[in-house]
């Protein structure tokens, strides 16, 4: 096949972390076994390029060589979502651009308009701190959830009117369940 140009196999992907959307481009590097990965985010920061290859893969562990440095990570992927642990931090990555704008922390949406405050963890509702129709300021507590023996005050993400509570005192909620609406 001498003289015939090899066609680079370029793969493009989109991922979402929290509110950030990432566009990825992967192509084989000239050096055999290595990939070139270009990562661009939609928040205006300069794009990043990595030259990487996989050294080892065992269970959830992946060892890569990235720009000459060893990166030893843990990873769990199910085709829709990828959880990556690196240097003590965990990244929750949605495959595709259809992330539901739920922040990576699972906390709340930052969009304009009505906001559903969601539970960030499973627990029991122990107090509703306002009456429907009351004004709440950003950062003011709106609801108390008990989990792991601690009472956690959930705060309003923005100022507005507390439209209604979607959970009652004593009820158990799961992570992601909407708790109340603030407009």
């Amino acid at each position: 096949m001498e003289g015939v140009g090899t066609e680079a196999l370029v793969v493009r992907e989109t991922f979402t972390v929290g509110l950030r959307r990432y566009s990825i481009e992967i192509q084989p590097d000239r050096e055999p076994g290595f990939q070139l990965i270009r990562v661009e985010s939609d928040d205006g920061l300069p794009s990043v390029e990595f030259k990487a290859r996989l050294l080892a893969s065992s269970g959830h562990a992946r060892t890569l060589e990235v720009d000459g440095q060893i990166e030893d990570l843990l990873l769990l992927a199910d085709g829709r979502r990828t959880l990556v642990e690196r240097a003590g931090s965990t990244y929750d990555i949605q495959n595709g651009s259809s992330g539901d704008k739920l922040r990576a922390t699972g906390h709340w949406s930052e969009d304009q308009g009505p906001v559903f405050i969601k539970a960030h963890m499973p627990g029991k509702i122990v107090r509703l701190m306002h009456k429907p129709g009351e004004e709440v300021a950003a950062g003011e507590g709106v609801i108390v959830i008990e989990a792991m023996k601690m009472q956690n005050e959930i705060k309003a993400p923005k100022s507005g009117i507390l439209v209604k509570y979607l959970a009652k005192v004593g009820s158990n909620v799961n992570a992601g369940d909407p708790l109340c609406e603030v407009e």
Partner: protein
């Protein structure tokens, strides 16, 4: 020595106690709630008994079920660990009534020190200074207001039966007092089955320094030096060390004498901890210290003292309860090097320490020279929502404080947990922080140095790399780029191949 000990607890401390039993040749018997059927402490025990539903009030706080399990398990003693019923005199009494040795202090010492208000009075009597506060539990908002005005804001609302930072709130001014009383009281009721709270003067930027004591039933009582536990969040300890970078030999002797006076006043036997707040605001002058409370149990942070003194506190608790004498006296206690413990919690340190229960999908634990990891989990375990979110305590011991810090930092570089958020990223920042390395600690340290802020720009590079790895993984899975696919296949199949060749 006992034949079988019921470990009436869960999580890392239950694992710690199972190990202590093994070291003494005693058979460890575990208990578990429904949520803990698969827990590590069950796996490591000789026998295990189910004691009720997942809520602690239905299981680990059920005195009758614990006594029943001890009987069924053929135990002759019960170790309560920390938390739950560890400082509950009724439980100690029930053990006694059932002919079981409660591994802890006598009931009088427990009752005295369990009531924070009475304890403060008793301690004052033997000449140890206490933090100004309400002499009684406050029974109404008005009563609390009166006391707070007398003491002066800011004040601390504290659970009378409490410990471990639960049922505790700082109040800056009168308007916030009612709310804080209500929350603290509810937490106290839920955590300790006693809603009583009292007030204390809130010291600005104090250091939390405590002294470990150990007393047997033959009037031998020694102190094992101090631990500094100033790095806290939500008034709960996060990082503890021995010795304290503030304490010199003279202050150690002084604090030790004060702690022994307190323990003596309580007629104390068992391992116990006398906690002090130390006001180090003044520059050159000798720091002032105030008695805070005495914990009549093994502390979470006991390992740093174990490493520095070379004494196994859990084993000594058991030996003492079995009637043995201390085999050493105060002059034999020696401190070697420095040890630091970081509590790895399933909490998000970048989001106000929000609990993050859930499955440990992947786990690599640190090891090597000077590193000890007292863990309560394993890969595949699901951290239950019902209990304290402590995953493990990572402890490093070094020839000096800087060697301990280096080793701890190295350990957190190796420690990988996939599935829940943890406090590890915070520790990686803390351990390289100049103020921490210089030992300039106080209980507001994390806030002062903004160590719990959201990830900075530096982490964006990490996020981009994580996304790149996710993309590579998906690529490998789908197999669209031949090179990548082959490279991964080779790796994976080498392992399967090899397994097959050797075994299947």
């Amino acid at each position: 020595m006992f034949r079988r000990i019921l470990v009436a607890n869960r999580g890392e401390i239950a694992v710690r106690l199972v190990r202590a039993c093994r070291d003494l040749g005693v058979s460890p018997v575990a208990v578990y709630s429904t949520a803990d059927r698969e827990a590590l402490h069950v796996r490591l025990a000789d026998r295990a008994f189910h004691i009720g539903d997942s809520a602690a009030t239905d299981s680990y706080l059920k005195i009758d079920r614990l006594i029943d399990a001890a009987r069924k398990g053929g135990c002759d003693a019960i170790h309560p660990g920390y938390g739950f019923l560890a400082e509950n005199a009724e439980f100690a009494g029930a053990c006694d009534g059932a002919g079981l040795v409660f591994i802890g202090p006598g009931p009088e010492a427990m009752e005295l020190m369990g009531n924070k208000v009475a304890a403060r009075r008793a301690v004052s009597r033997v000449g140890v200074p206490t933090v100004p506060g309400s002499e009684q539990p406050v029974e109404s908002t008005d009563q609390a207001l009166d006391a707070a005005r007398r003491i002066g804001f800011p004040v601390l609302v504290k659970a009378s039966a409490g410990g471990g930072g639960k049922g505790m709130r700082v109040v800056d001014g009168e308007s916030a007092l009612a709310e804080a009383l209500s929350i603290a009281s509810a937490e106290a009721a839920s955590a300790f089955a006693d809603p009583a709270v009292y007030l204390e003067k809130y010291l600005e930027r104090p250091r939390h320094i405590e002294v470990q004591v150990l007393g047997d039933a033959h009037n031998n009582l020694v102190h094992l030096g101090e631990r500094e536990c100033s790095i806290q969040r939500r008034h709960q300890k996060l990082v503890e060390e021995c010795p304290s970078p503030l304490v010199d030999a003279r202050l150690r002797a002084e604090l030790g004498e004060a702690a022994l006076a307190v323990a003596r006043a309580a007629g104390y036997r068992n391992a116990g901890t006398v906690e002090f707040l130390v006001d180090s605001a003044g520059g050159g002058e000798t720091p002032r210290y105030y008695f805070l409370e005495m914990n009549t149990r093994l502390q979470v942070e006991h390992p740093v003292t174990e490493l520095v003194t070379g004494l196994d506190l859990a084993c000594w608790q058991i030996r003492i309860a079995a009637g043995e004498r201390l085999s050493f006296d105060q002059a034999d206690v020696e401190w070697r090097g420095s040890a630091i413990e970081c509590r790895v919690y399933a909490e998000d340190p970048n989001l106000g320490f929000l609990p993050s229960p859930g499955p440990i999908c992947g786990l690599i634990e640190p090891s090597g020279p000077g590193v000890r990891n007292d863990s309560g989990v394993y890969e595949g375990f699901v951290i239950p929502v019902e209990y304290d979110p402590l995953i493990s305590k990572t402890i490093a011991h070094g020839r000096d404080r800087l060697e301990a810090i280096s080793r701890l930092h190295r350990a957190f570089g190796e420690y990988r947990i996939l599935g829940v958020k943890t406090t590890i990223p915070l520790f990686l920042r803390l351990l390289v922080h100049p103020a921490f390395r210089e030992g300039r600690l106080h209980t507001g340290f994390l806030a002062e140095h903004a160590l719990t802020e959201s990830p900075d720009q530096g982490d964006r590079q990490g996020e981009a790399l994580a996304v790149a790895v996710a993309a590579l993984e998906e690529l490998n899975g789908r197999g669209t780029a031949a090179d990548a696919r082959n490279s991964v296949r080779r790796n994976r199949s080498a392992w399967k191949e090899s397994a097959r060749r050797h075994w299947l």
